[in-house]
């Protein structure tokens, strides 16, 4: 905005009225929301931390899977507390917790984002098709969603892993399979109310086919629920992956993941004598899910201010 206005304002010295687009308004609302901003900052820091995992490794000189039996374990064979060499301490095998945390962040973010995007894609596709066509197509797809929702997902994940063995791809697949339904239902409901609207009728009377109506007329109107629900799906996917790894069904050790680190800490209750083994990955995991949840709430309020519950408005002195 800056360059275009500056000449005019200096010439007339009248207060300028800036016309703001929907995006600018949303961003402004989000920027004013302190909780969301804190969440965004934490997420950005986490992304940098995950991206810089090799740098953390180089800086400490510790590989994530290297066992430092001399320096990383006490004379009794117990993990050592945070100190100058191991900033966040070591685990039961004498590995550097900080380095493992950084590489674990990659797994959590990768699984969280990839699984959520894939689940969103499936949910949007099925939801739009079910809502748009209605009739028997809707009946079949809706029943399918009911069916998937009625499956004991953690038990099925157990069964799948026991057959195929744990892996990153299987974790993502399981998460996608069991989490697209929420998005599917929301989208279906929205599409049902959108498809009878005048602008859709107008497109239809101009000769637009179903695919073109779905993609060009309906999809853009779904951006708010898509953005909000995809953001909200990320923390559940991250916890889902951490739970699988915690149960020994996710990422294969010795590759680091937060759930796996917590599982190592729980094994033989070693964390009772080494609190950092649960506090460090536990806190980071909690802050991550909390940040995404706060951001999701904030995005919903910023994108759709009308949906916000009535708030007591207090007059605030302008700076």
């Amino acid at each position: 905005m800056g360059g275009r206005m500056s000449a005019d304002t200096e010439a007339t010295e009248a207060p300028t009225i800036v016309q703001r687009g929907a995006l600018a308004l949303t961003v402004r609302r989000l920027l004013r929301d302190r909780a969301s901003m804190a969440a965004v900052i934490f997420i950005l820091l986490l992304v940098v931390f995950a991206a810089a995992a090799p740098l953390v490794e180089a800086w400490t000189g510790h590989s994530p899977i290297e066992q430092f039996r001399d320096t990383g374990l006490s004379t009794m064979g117990l993990p050592v507390a945070p100190n100058g060499e191991f900033v966040l301490g070591t685990d039961q095998l004498g590995r550097d917790v900080l380095v493992r945390l950084a590489y674990g962040a990659r797994v959590s973010l990768l699984v969280g984002v990839v699984a959520s995007l894939a689940a969103a894609l499936v949910g949007i596709t099925i939801g739009v098709i079910a809502g748009f066509f209605g009739g028997w197509i809707d009946a079949v797809l809706s029943r399918t969603m009911d069916l998937v929702m009625s499956v004991p997902f953690l038990l099925c994940a157990l069964a799948l892993v026991s057959v195929f063995g744990p892996s990153l791809a299987l974790s993502i697949g399981v998460i996608v399979f069991f989490s697209w339904t929420t998005m599917g239902r929301v989208i279906r409901g929205q599409v049902i109310s959108l498809r009878e609207r005048d602008f859709v009728q107008a497109s239809r009377s101009l000769g637009a086919g179903p695919l073109s109506i779905m993609l060009i007329d309906i999809l853009p109107n779904l951006s708010v629920p898509i953005i909000v629900y995809t953001t909200m799906m990320i923390p559940s996917s991250i916890v889902f992956e951490a739970t699988l790894s915690f149960l020994g069904l996710g990422i294969v050790p010795p590759a680091p993941s937060w759930g796996g680190m917590l599982a190592d800490a729980a094994a033989n209750s070693i964390y009772l004598v080494a609190w950092w083994l649960v506090i460090v990955p536990g806190t980071v995991l909690l802050l991550t899910t909390l940040s995404f949840n706060i951001l999701g709430d904030g995005l919903r309020d910023a994108l759709d201010p009308k949906a916000r519950p009535v708030r007591l408005r207090r007059k605030r002195a302008k700076p």
């Binding site: 029943r143 009911d146 069916l147 009625s150 499956v151 004991p152 953690l154 038990l155 099925c156 157990l158 069964a159 799948l160 892993v161 026991s162 057959v163 195929f164 923390p235 916890v239 951490a242 739970t243 915690f246 149960l247 020994g248 069904l249 917590l262 800490a265 729980a266 209750s269 964390y271 009772l272 609190w275 649960v278 506090i279 536990g282 995991l285 909690l286 899910t289 909390l290 949840n293 706060i294 709430d297 519950p309 009535v310 708030r311 007591l312």
Partner: protein, 317 residues
């Protein structure tokens, strides 16, 4: 009503059928020889052949499938590969721990979640709402196993280091003969499952109540001069809580099928722990049994919820 119920029953049967087919296909395509799993590594080829014929593994696949479905429909889930006990007995032995966890958990999370939701919704935007929303956010974000490990550290380990036992480290004690010991052992697992789940109920209650309180009949009640607490608790609460029945049914069913994470953290020998052990031992009949049982609980709870719902809200019938 009968048509409504018949439809629900048909769908329930469909779910169980789909689930049994899923586990059957899964374990049929699975690598590894079940006979080898039963007999161990030292078994001779003749022993393996004998076991295969005992288990019916030498018959054509469609025959195996039909006999599997037929037996499962009659409640016969076969025998464990590990110790040859009936799967149903193994599960039945594990149910007390899981049921104990669910009962206490439900009571606790309802008595925390609903009041928090009401408090939040009655003062939208105020400090009580923020407090409630903070509780909801943290509760929804807290991974169960992290909360469990932290509570064990704070309420078991720290007091024990200080020289006294506040709560036990875990394990399950039967309800009889000493309910106090039972409750004492269950206290931390209850609190853990309840705190994370209560957030879900607080959010649902809050959302529902905000919606209900803007309805016309609430305005009418207020206009008639009905006192505010009566408006909230007599007129508002019923419409607020009805939709919670659906969530409650689903949550109870999922937990009965195995509160895997909580049982793992607290060393409770429940159905979920059985499932994990079965996976680690490659004990396929037990895995199949637990998955089918989980599906069975969900199906039953769906039907019960539908009946309760239609009693509470006759419009859905």
């Amino acid at each position: 009503m009968i048509r409504f119920l018949a439809g629900r029953l048909a769908f329930a049967a469909l779910i169980l059928f789909a689930l049994s087919t899923f586990v059957f296909v899964l374990f049929f395509v699975a690598p590894g020889d079940p006979a080898r799993l039963v007999a161990g590594d030292k078994a001779t080829e003749t022993q393996l052949i004998q076991i295969r014929s005992n288990l019916g593994l030498d018959r054509p696949i469609h025959e195996q499938y039909l006999s599997f479905l037929g037996r499962a429909a009659q409640g016969d889930l076969g025998y464990s590969y590990r110790n040859q006990q009936p799967v149903l007995t193994l599960i039945a032995n594990r149910l007390p721990a899981t049921v104990s966890l669910v009962i206490g958990g439900v009571i606790l999370w309802l008595s925390v979640g609903i009041p928090v939701g009401i408090m939040s919704a009655r003062h939208p935007g105020g400090w009580r709402d923020r407090l409630g929303q903070g509780f909801i956010l943290v509760g929804l974000s807290f991974p169960t196993f992290v909360l469990g490990m932290v509570s064990l550290y704070v309420f078991y380990f720290l007091p024990r280091q200080a020289g006294f036992t506040l709560f036990p480290a875990g394990g399950f004690k039967p309800f009889w003969p000493n309910p106090a010991i039972w409750a004492w052992h269950m206290a931390l697992p209850w609190a853990t499952v309840a705190l994370t789940t209560a957030a879900v109920y607080a959010r649902l209650t809050r959302g529902q109540m905000l919606e209900v309180m803007s309805e016309d009949y609430i305005r009418t009640a207020r206009a008639k001069g009905v006192p505010e607490h009566k408006v909230v608790y007599k007129h508002g609460l019923r419409a607020t809580l009805t939709p919670l029945v659906t969530q409650l049914g689903a949550d109870i069913a999922f937990l009965l099928g195995g509160a895997i994470v909580i049982e793992q953290v607290y060393g409770l020998q429940g159905v979920g722990a059985l499932a994990i052990q079965a996976v680690n031992n490659q004990d396929r009949p037990v895995i199949i049994g637990v998955v089918l049982l989980g599906g069975f609980f969900i199906v039953i709870s769906n039907i019960v919820v539908d009946i309760i719902y239609s009693l509470l809200d006759p419009r859905v019938r």
